[in-house]
Symmetry: C2
Subunit: 204 residues, 2 copies
Amino acid sequence: MNRRSFHRAPEGERRQELIEATLDCISEFGLKGATVRQIAVRAGVTAGLVRHYFDSKDQMVAEAYRAVIASLTEKAKNVEGDPTTRLKDFIAINLTEPVADSRSVSLWAAFISQVRVDPVLAEIHREGYLAFRNALQDLLSDFLAAKGRPAGPEECRRYAIAINGLVDGLWVEGCLAGDLFRDGELVSIAMASVEALLGLPIEQ
Amino acid sequence: MNRRSFHRAPEGERRQELIEATLDCISEFGLKGATVRQIAVRAGVTAGLVRHYFDSKDQMVAEAYRAVIASLTEKAKNVEGDPTTRLKDFIAINLTEPVADSRSVSLWAAFISQVRVDPVLAEIHREGYLAFRNALQDLLSDFLAAKGRPAGPEECRRYAIAINGLVDGLWVEGCLAGDLFRDGELVSIAMASVEALLGLPIEQ
DNA sequence: GTCGCTATTATTCAAGTGTATAATAATTCT
DNA sequence: AGAATTATTATACACTTGAATAATAGCGAC
């Protein structure tokens, strides 16, 4: 028997490799095509190993979804600087790579399509969405205050809903049909739109 | 042998039943759960019949996707009346049932997630998206002209991209977490946002 | 070094997949 | 009413799926 050679990886590392391989497969072959065997090939291991690190394939997929949400939101939530810079960065980050690319939107859509099916994924989604929107709402509150037009929570909430919708919608448009837009066009449209929505200039 | 009784349906009717059953299964069980057998159960027939009406399951799914796009766009594209009414209706239709519901967004997401995988679905998507956005662009052109502020194609294009993004984004938000919004809140936010984007009142 | 632990591989299994084929019964035509 | 047509069912097949189990080899402790 010629067994293939291998090396024993630290637990955290191998788990992350498997999760990354899972996401690769989902984005390239769809949820249907992301089989345990295909994922193992992508990760450079054999199929049985999946069950050594995760209770089930479904659990691994759920963790992979958490990773997607984290990668989509962490950059935007960690913007720094004065409110104007943060707002500008928030918009730009969400509409340029690596957040805005076809792999991201494929993964996002694959999981969204399961929200009705799998309550676990539904909960993960809701948490991520609310955290993201609340971060935007706080950012807008700071921005409006800094511009000398402080607004209450209700007004900020409405702005956050609208701008979140706008940015998400443009994000999807751009990811799915990036070739229909010129370089930087989406960011430019988004900036102008947010200025119009708030009735305030973003550029200093 | 006790064979189950059945009735022979006209071709068009049965095809539509199968497509509808396919969409039901995709929205309830995901693309993975939409198996030929499950679809047949939903349609009240047996699995073999699928291949009598379609060359393959994949082809049936592609036709089902066409049906989804049609149902999502036909109402909005057929708005009538003066430009102001049409714009108002366009927004309202896209953000209220039946266009805005969790089944629709599940189906939409399921197919979007396959755009990278299946070139056939990618083409169907692109056609639908462009037709939708162009309809909106024409509508905006009419609206701006009627309001005494005619705009060229490039300006209308930018507005169409932004408003399409806004409406799509709010549509997704509302479909996925309708309980987070009050009745009519999304439509109200969308109306106010579009007014701000265009710098024109929509209400007469 | 070699021993022990366990991460990893290899193999097997039952259930489910899309599809092909043959049997049959609902409907139409004469 | 009876024959012809074909939509529909029933069954079988080859293959894939996630998971369970047993064998093995990498690697740290001593």
